[in-house]
Symmetry: C2
Subunit: 131 residues, 2 copies
């Protein structure tokens, strides 16, 4: 079970990823699990970050893109310039996401329309065949 810490396997089961993936993300500085000896211990922070990573991936962002916005989600509290940069980047990213939402709505509308056309084609074909 997992209270404070989780092993790599428990993380993999929970998020449906492979150990290789988690090690790779650590190498890319997207995750930073604790260690006991040399075994990784994943914390609540890692779980929150991984959730954000996987979400970002589903929207087509690169790991490098994601790494940059992750810094926004837990900035160094006594590094004011970094916080300001993170906020600026986050604001930019927010605009991106809202733009994406418009596109997504449009894509959904288009697809719905296309499905209607498809349904019409099917019923027309069946009516024709029934003559």
């Amino acid at each position: 079970m997992a209270g404070k810490f989780m092993t790599i396997r428990e993380m993999c089961d929970l998020f449906d990823v492979t150990p290789r993936t988690l090690r790779f993300y650590e190498q890319k500085e997207l995750l930073a699990p604790e260690r006991t000896g040399n075994r990784r211990l994943f914390t609540k922070r890692d779980r929150a970050r991984l959730k954000l990573i996987l979400r970002g991936k589903r929207f087509g962002f690169s790991l490098e893109d994601i790494r940059q916005i992750l810094d926004l989600y837990d900035p160094d509290q006594n590094n004011l310039p970094q916080i300001k940069r993170a906020c600026k980047l986050g604001t930019q990213r927010l605009a991106d996401l809202e733009e994406r939402r418009k596109e997504l709505d449009e894509a959904i509308q288009d697809l719905r329309g296309q499905l209607v056309i498809g349904a019409e084609m099917i019923s027309y074909a069946q009516a024709t065949a029934a003559e």
Copy 2:
């Protein structure tokens, strides 16, 4: 200018892609431009498809994913089984997109919250520095 047909360069300028990309998409059967001699001539159909391709990419779909739903957008009118398959796949894809929309809304909400926190951290730091 571009009436009915467009050269590869005109397509590239219009969609901000490289010739290599358009040739690659043709090779993968995502586009099928006409030819005059061996020069490609892109039609309205190609432009519509390319728009869908680039949209799909922005949402993290693979070219193979995209190729499958493209078939939905201009199915062979007298191939009923294909139309039915396309509709089924399109319905599935629509569910995907609606799921994505939920996730996207959540991401936007999260990011907004984080920006508020960031702004608070900044104003707090400035108030502390002003003492």
